[in-house]
């Protein structure tokens, strides 16, 4: 009964990522879209927080948002997805919780 959490706000100016991280369960997943991919900035506290998420939580990011922002040095555990992959994730997880 796992949840795919969807984020799209930059964590540098918004508390949604922090709130989301506090209530993740084993088996849940996080999909970073839009400015939330800035959480992957190397060396940032948000990057460290993402890297500290238990291995039982999968970490995804929308590939177009990574490419547009030219983010590199991504964590090995991060799985970029395109829109077909995004749809597949929504099928795989029982529910999607978008942090609007």
């Amino acid at each position: 009964m796992a949840t795919l959490h969807l984020l799209s706000h930059s964590p540098f100016s918004d508390g949604r990522l922090a709130s989301c991280l506090r209530l993740l369960c084993a088996g849940d997943a996080l999909l970073l879209c839009g400015d939330s991919v800035y959480a992957l900035q190397s060396g940032s506290d948000h990057r460290k927080a993402l890297e500290s998420i238990p291995d039982s939580v999968a970490l995804y990011a929308l590939d177009e948002d990574l490419a547009a922002r030219r983010l590199d040095a991504l964590p090995a555990r991060l799985l970029p997805v395109d829109y077909a992959g995004f749809v597949e994730l929504c099928c795989r997880y029982e529910r999607t919780n978008s942090w609007l």
């Binding site: 799209s8 077909a84 995004f86 099928c91 978008s98």
Partner: protein, 139 residues
């Protein structure tokens, strides 16, 4: 939901809470296109909060930007989808059809073709009929 040997096909209800100029609106549209391309069904598109602006016929996107509102309208029409705009959210934000513009004596109706004003019950009905409810909003 229907499952074949390879994978499951799902019924999606998609709710959008952001206006056409928000990245979330474009993202929702790209997702919806991918869902159909993957053989899935979209039972309803529901616009709520500032998402009602994604159904405005009055938007004039800058020439060097994507006209997402127009793309939504065409997408719904081309795929014969059920596009619903929450009437309470629409009224609050000035997205009206002819009937509501007349009822409230407003100078213009601006609901884009393909969309229909209705109540929140339509969001719940779609959620009940779909396998998955996916919300897009924020940025």
């Amino acid at each position: 939901m229907s499952c074949s040997f390879e994978r499951c096909l799902m019924k999606f209800a998609i709710a959008l809470f952001s206006p056409a100029h928000s990245p979330a609106s474009r993202r929702a549209l790209r997702f919806a296109e991918a869902a159909l391309a993957g053989g899935h069904e979209i039972v309803r598109l529901f616009l709520y909060q500032d998402g009602v602006h994604s159904a405005s016929a009055n938007i004039v996107a800058p020439q060097d930007e994507l006209g997402v509102a127009g793309q939504w309208s065409r997408f719904i029409r081309d795929n014969r989808l059920d596009g619903v705009v929450c009437i309470a959210a629409g009224l609050r934000r000035g997205v009206l059809d002819e009937q509501e513009a007349a009822r409230h004596q407003r100078p213009a109706a601006n609901l884009s073709a393909g969309w229909e004003l209705s109540g929140l019950g339509q969001l719940h009905e779609a959620s009940q009929n779909a396998d998955r409810l996916i919300c897009f909003g924020g940025h």
